[in-house]
Amino acid sequence: MLPVAALRRQRLTEAVLPVAIAAAIALIAGDLLILAVGQAPATVYRLLLEGTWGNGYGTGQVLYKATTLIFTGLAVSVPLAAGMFNIGAESQLAAGGFAAGTVGMLLAPTTPAPLAVAICLLAAAAGGALVGAVPGLLIARTGANEVITTIMLNVIVLSALNWAVAAHLHVPETLHTPTIRAGTVPRLGALVPSLRGSAANWTVLLALLVVAATGWLVVRSRPGFAIRAVGSAPEAAATAGISVARTRVGAFIVGGALAGLGAANFVLGYKHYYEDGFAGGSGYLGIAVALAGRGRPIGIVLAALAFATLSQGGLAIHAVVPKQIADVLQAVVILVVAAATPVVARRLGEPPA
């Protein structure tokens, strides 16, 4: 075999094997938990599949949940390619939703639909980018640790948004803002009747476009080259004339904008308002998606679908097994991927990244 082909194959094995091991171990853990509550694993897995991909509503819900996860997965992936952890996708997503919700509220109801949607999407991306820029600038200017900064910033931003909604913008008796007056994105059920009733909407297509565009940006474009150079060897990148600080700020702003865009799924496509706490952990699950997706576009889409299936499947089996089994298995997957990655890399004879 040509050395290049061999190397490529090893890279692929290195990327896929830890995820395969994690899936296998999660399956075993799932069996044990199901047996522990006195149920038959085969029956429960059948229920899980029937409740998700087995009917139109379930499929639509999986697509809906996967859409948000694709965006938050990308939001983690881009800064990760530059060598930084973005734990802030949760608050970036929330800020994007708040921006889209308030801007949509202010638009005239007569605004042409495509223009209104574009304005709301821009607002969502800007809201997320703004929150992403803060840790980016702090890291670049002061060298502050991005993990701690984004964790702390999550709480600060979510508290501030909670205050804005609770004190000023909420509809009485609720914690959500008034309905947007323009900028709604139609549900998929209008086109595909079997998906009717589910929350799936056209944002899923935007997600696929954005995955492709981000893949192109990171792999083919000049800024993407800088991002990857800074991520793999910052000193060498600096010697080659790439500004490490500026690249990191840029990666964080792009990550924040991607997380913010994800809010379109809920705010524009589903509820048509911003609601306190709507992010509901999707930002954190984005870390799992980025990790299991191995930073590749197709990987991120597959990982988002898998994690969304698990979340929706948890609801489908709740009558026989507590739905929290889905949360446990998601965590097991992250844990095993994290542990298997360096082991696989060592076994394949390359130093761990």
């Binding site: 060298g143 964790i151 998601q330 991927v337």
Partner: protein, 291 residues
């Protein structure tokens, strides 16, 4: 004014409330100091605490005594930490990702356990607590001075610092760095578990996600206190004082409570910015194996 409580009584009540809020921070932050001074990151404190709180509820329910709950809380926290140690020391998994996984696992697993054992995923039945003086409050007040002395003066403290600052040199001197770090993480989990146990026993039940970010506030205290036990202890008390204040401001609604609850997090970011100029106060080999 006749019938109004004296200033002294009000101060005493405020002090009692402050101690109640500070105790879980002090115990968990002590755990954070132990692990981080040994070079292991403490993003998992939240998960250790939550597991400890849940285990304490099971332990207290099973033994019918608060002491049983305390023991179970320490073991539960240490068990969650053992998982972290297994992945990060044995397999050399990334410490940040592993800690995030442990935190998610703790939320899911404690709810699952509640559902299976008590038929509700939101709370446990009523469990016994300590009447009168809670030994965990006393433990919280003593833990930082004891830790300061242990780190500065004992053989374990010296090895811990060596593992956290210069693992290469420590290995060359014949110290088993991996072992020291495992011990530090287990101890850290047990301490954070005690912090969680205090929450459950104080409220006479376990409720889902009852730690509500306290593990991250404890981590904030570790950073704000620049990894020195006594200073970290003061940071815990300052954060607890801010919260005590918040409870009273809420009554008068002078400042929105959301802004008061941001204080620990905002102070931590400020501390990170200030600490990043010149020599960082963080252990030199934090989260790394070579130096």
């Amino acid at each position: 004014m006749p019938g109004a409580p004296s200033v002294g009584l009000v101060a005493l009540a405020l002090l009692a409330q402050l101690l109640r809020i500070a105790t879980p921070y002090l115990l968990a932050a002590a755990g954070g100091v132990v692990a981080e001074r040994g070079g292991m990151m403490s993003l998992g404190l939240e998960g250790y605490m939550l597991t400890g709180a849940c285990a304490a509820a099971f332990g207290a329910a099973a033994t019918g005594s608060a002491s049983g709950g305390v023991a179970a809380g320490a073991v539960g926290g240490a068990a969650a930490a053992a998982l972290f140690a297994l992945a990060t020391v044995r397999a050399r998994a990334d410490q940040i990702i592993t800690a995030i996984a442990i935190n998610l696992l703790a939320v899911g697993a404690t709810r699952f356990a509640l559902r299976v054992a008590f038929g509700s995923s939101s709370n446990s039945p009523r469990i016994p607590g300590f009447g009168g003086l809670d030994p965990l409050v006393v433990g919280g007040l003593l833990v930082m001075p004891v830790l300061a002395a242990a780190i500065a003066r004992t053989r374990f403290g010296l090895r811990l610092r060596a593992a956290g600052e210069r693992p290469d040199a420590a290995t060359a001197a014949g110290i088993d760095v991996a072992r020291i770090r495992i011990v530090a993480v287990l101890l850290s989990g047990a301490l954070a578990g005690l912090g969680g146990a205090y929450l459950a026993l104080d409220q006479h039940q376990f409720t889902d996600e009852m730690t509500a970010g306290r593990g991250f506030i404890a981590l904030a205290a570790v950073i704000f206190g620049r990894w020195a036990p006594l200073r970290v202890g003061v940071a815990c008390l300052v954060f607890a004082a801010a919260e005590t204040l918040e409870l009273h401001l809420q009554l008068t609604s002078a400042v929105p409570s959301q802004f008061v609850s941001m204080i620990p997090y905002a102070l931590t970011i400020v501390a990170l910015i200030r600490g990043s100029g010149g020599r960082s106060p963080a252990p030199a080999a934090l989260g790394r194996w070579e130096r």
